[in-house]
């Protein structure tokens, strides 16, 4: 590879600035190893204070997990399932079993009731309905101005009080559930009840919110659950295929 301006016996311009080989050594033309040797750094074991911090973090996280807000996207409830979920059904572990009643229940929607909220901290149009089920959006629509101006403070307070009262009542009635949820091991029957109620809660909300929605899948699924898809796909689903 002869270079245009390169003179014999002299180094290329800029050669003194290459750093990968020293001036008087042989150039190393061997390919670099694909996986160079690498000493994996080992983490120090945790100190006493660090251990404590981690434990506290875990405790708080645990609290969050047991709290009303922890929610997953696919709670895996046995009730209504989408078609996709049914196709991926795991026949070995998916069947409800007796010990399933001890299994930690997962929420699909954070539970908002059960504690007071300061309403003025939340956006009125979108979320007040969610936090306070009997809040009527109609009240906000009455005037053009009401929408433009932020909810006046006084109003916020009034609502606040009302809502607190209600919450207080609800808390009193719902107390048993909450207690049950906390002392799972002590009161098992109670606990079960509480969990059922939680599930109910979710569905109710679902119905309320999506009441107007037309669920096309549900339309044909009406009786399918009983007959079809239980391994006798051909026989059960026959009804569908007949129409061909």
């Amino acid at each position: 590879m002869s270079r245009f301006g390169a003179k014999k016996g002299r180094k290329l311009p800029g050669a003194e600035f290459t750093w990968d080989n020293d001036p008087n050594g042989e150039p190393d033309t061997a390919p670099t190893p694909l996986y160079p040797k690498y000493t994996v750094p080992q983490a120090r074991p945790l100190g006493e204070r660090e251990q404590k911090q981690v434990d506290l973090y875990r405790a708080l996280r645990e609290q969050f997990h047991d709290g009303p807000y922890y929610s997953v996207l696919d709670p895996g409830l046995s009730g209504r399932r989408s078609k996709a979920a049914r196709q991926h059904f795991d026949p070995f572990h998916g069947m409800p079993s007796y010990s399933g009643k001890y299994q930690k229940k997962k929420r699909a929607i954070p539970k908002l009731s059960g504690r007071p909220y300061v309403m003025k901290f939340f956006p009125r149009d979108d979320l007040w309905e969610a936090i306070q089920p009997n809040f009527k959006a109609g009240a906000a629509v009455d005037g053009f101005v009401a929408r433009m101006v932020r909810p006046p403070l006084k109003r916020g307070f009034e609502d606040d009080d009302e809502e607190e009262d209600e919450d207080g009542k609800r808390r009193k009635t719902g107390d048993d559930d909450d207690e049950g949820g906390e002392n799972d091991d002590l009161l098992e029957p109670d606990d079960e009840q509480g969990e059922e109620e939680i599930m109910d809660d979710d569905f109710e909300d679902d119905d309320d919110e999506m009441g107007g929605d037309y669920n096309a899948e549900q339309y044909f699924d009406g009786g399918d659950d009983e007959y079809g898809d239980d391994g006798f796909g051909d026989g059960g689903g026959g009804g569908d295929e007949d129409t061909y």
Partner: protein, 654 residues
């Protein structure tokens, strides 16, 4: 804080703490930044109910900002990266609070964290905060400060409440201090102590909007004022800017410390100090002098004397209408001070460190946040910024009376212990006999000694303190910006040394000290052979720690006629290391998630409501060891994340 990895990290943290629904909403918001409800629904493909409830809960946890626009009345949502990030610091904060104010305070703190924000009235009703008898008794000794305060206050509380006709269904028996019904009695002083230290603050409306929205809002308000409208041109701009800042401060301000401070010290904090001499030997230094402790009899009397008059007004419970939340900024200050203290502990005697702690604590009470501007200023553009000066007398007051001050400083003739490393062991031997008689020291002597310790800390290289004379009084301050920068540099140097070895460290230090250097000069100064130097520089350049600048000597830019200058830019390196750290943290969390998935079946079993709590009964031997291993593994990963978080704090927050 808006980088890819930071966003990823925050999403992972939220998922770890709150589950997938929150994480989905947050990641969508993080990707698109500012969305109205309908757009958010469209992108996230969640149902109305999921989204509504999710958003409401996230606002409650301060994970989402919202802003209702004036023009179209539409509410927009934005992710709140900062508070999402602080989820990782919760363990650190709780540990700190427990160390400082006792276990019960930490419980209160974690409850507030759990609730996002909460009204004091609601906190009163929570069963978790009703101290069971065992809980109170098993609290750490530090807590006794608060607890004892209770006992002392007890009588006064009763009198006051009887007058005020408060409905706290208090039994009339004056001595039933720890009956369960007395619960607010412990809650309120604790809340007050937290508020006095500034660890919690009042929630304001404006805190739910992002800073940019607030600024625009404030600007609009200012501009519509008639007196501003009259102005024109530059004056207008100035007035608007000034007014905006003022209004912002007013709106965002949730300071609860007002009225809870007493001579620059939160009420209840002081007691802890004097108590510390009594029964909290949390520092090793104190154990040595335990014998002296017991000899001191006058301590108890002294305590009662001032506790009566100082806690007189402190018995009013917190207003139950106040909504409180965690003040992360202030906690950053406290954690930063702890960091400085560690720095001091590293190369000075424990006694000196203790004196320093007293000074730092005094300063902490009056420092609201780590710095005034939101971004860390560039290297060299940062002005000096001294903390509030603390008079020497105040420090002397705070320092434990029984602390042996003389033992670790040189003899009195030498005014400045210059060569302290050589001298200290010698002194300790020589002063061995003096230890016993230390209890009764003259006051002036003590002041002088404390001053000596602080002088010691003022020495380079760290210059942890600096001395000021204010109208004839000696005051001590801490130059925070300088020290924060120092911390940053130390952190970077640590990284470089770990990655490229000590030769690289030397090169970087030379470059940092001298600026841009030609290779030849660099070699002369660093006294390294060419070969080593080049290798190290090359590998560091690939890592992005140093870089090369070309300065051509003629217009043709021939390499032979070009000067190549090496340089090291701490700002740049800092930023890239910060990014790497975010990435490392999020990888750790991802690994954790993966590991959890691997053991999913087993972990679900351990979380079953019947198994949880009595694992020994239901799990087999092998399962127990597996659980043990899993916990250790998780702790290690989380601990690693916490360590990385410490780096982030140094680079970003301090």
């Amino acid at each position: 804080m808006t980088s890819q990895y930071a966003g990823e990290l925050c999403t992972l943290l939220i998922e770890d703490n709150f589950g997938e629904l929150f994480a989905r909403i947050f990641s969508i918001l993080n990707r698109y930044d500012r969305l109205s409800f309908s757009r958010l629904k469209f992108y996230s493909r969640l149902s109305n109910a999921q989204l509504r409830h999710g958003l409401a809960a996230m606002i409650q946890q301060h994970l989402v900002y919202h802003y209702t626009s004036y023009d179209d009345g539409i509410t927009y949502y934005e992710p709140n990266m900062q508070s999402a990030y602080y989820l990782i610091r919760s363990g650190k904060i709780l540990e700190f609070i427990e160390h400082r104010l006792g276990k019960y305070a930490a419980t209160v703190m974690s409850t507030i964290m759990f609730l996002g924000h909460a009204q004091v009235g609601y906190l009163e009703t929570l069963p978790a905060l009703k101290p069971s008898k065992s809980d109170v008794n098993s609290t750490s000794e530090e807590c006794e400060g608060v607890q004892e305060a209770e006992e002392n206050q007890g009588d006064e509380v009763h009198q006051e409440t009887e007058e005020d006709e408060k409905t706290e269904n208090r039994p009339n028996g004056l001595n039933s201090d720890y009956a369960p019904a007395e619960q607010p009695a412990l809650l309120h002083p604790t809340l007050k102590a937290l508020a006095g230290h500034g660890y919690i603050l009042r929630v304001r409306d404006a805190q739910f909007q992002s800073y940019a929205d607030n600024t625009l809002d404030a600007e609009r308000t200012i501009k519509s004022r008639p007196d501003i409208k009259a102005l024109k041109g530059k004056k207008l701009e100035e007035a608007v800017a000034e007014g905006t800042l003022e209004l912002l401060k007013e709106r965002l301000d949730g300071d609860l410390t007002r009225g809870l401070m007493f001579n620059g010290v939160p009420r209840g904090a002081k007691r802890r100090h004097t108590n510390g001499a009594h029964g909290a030997p949390n520092k090793k230094a104190r154990i040595d002098y335990a014998a002296v402790d017991e000899d001191e009899g006058g301590d108890g009397e002294e305590e009662n004397e001032w506790s009566d008059d100082e806690f007189g007004e402190d018995t009013i419970p917190m207003e139950s209408g106040i909504t409180v939340r965690i003040n992360y900024e202030k906690l950053d200050v406290a954690l930063r001070n702890r960091r400085f203290l560690e720095l001091a502990e590293r190369d000075s005697s424990p006694v000196t460190a203790e004196v320093y702690e007293c000074l730092l604590r005094r300063i902490e009470y009056q420092t609201a946040k780590c710095r005034d501007n939101t971004e860390i200023p560039r290297e060299g553009e940062e002005g000096e910024h001294y903390s509030v000066p603390v008079p020497l007398r105040a420090v002397v007051e705070d320092v434990d009376l029984l602390l042996d001050l003389a033992g670790s400083v040189g003899p009195m003739e030498v005014s400045q212990p210059i060569n302290r490393r050589g001298k200290r062991p010698l002194e300790e031997n020589a002063n061995g006999a003096v230890h016993e008689s230390n209890g009764a020291q003259s006051d002036g002597n003590r002041t002088y000694e404390v001053d000596q310790h602080l002088c010691l800390l003022a020495q380079p290289p760290y210059s942890l303190t600096s001395k000021r004379m204010a109208s004839g009084l000696i005051t001590w301050t801490v130059e925070f910006r300088h020290l924060a920068r120092k911390l940053r540099h130390l952190e970077l140097e640590r990284v470089i040394e770990a990655r490229y070895g000590d030769v690289a460290l030397r090169v970087v230090r030379v470059l940092h000290d001298k600026g841009k250097l030609d290779e030849k000069r660099l070699q002369e100064i660093s006294l390294l052979p060419f070969k080593d130097l080049r290798q190290v520089l090359a590998s560091m350049q690939t890592g992005g720690f140093v870089d090369l600048q070309e300065v051509p000597r003629d217009a043709l830019r021939q390499p032979s006629k070009t000067i190549f200058l090496w340089f090291y830019d701490p700002d740049r390196v800092c930023n890239s290391v910060l990014e790497d750290t975010y990435k490392a943290m999020s990888r750790c969390l991802q690994r954790l998630r993966f590991e959890r998935n691997r053991l999913k079946e087993f972990l679900e079993k351990t979380e079953r409501s019947d198994v949880k709590g009595n694992e020994e009964r239901y799990l087999s031997e092998a399962e127990l060891t597996l659980l043990e291993q899993w916990r250790a593994k998780e702790a290690l990963l989380l601990g690693e994340v916490a360590r990385l978080d410490e780096m982030v704090a140094v680079m970003r927050d301090y």
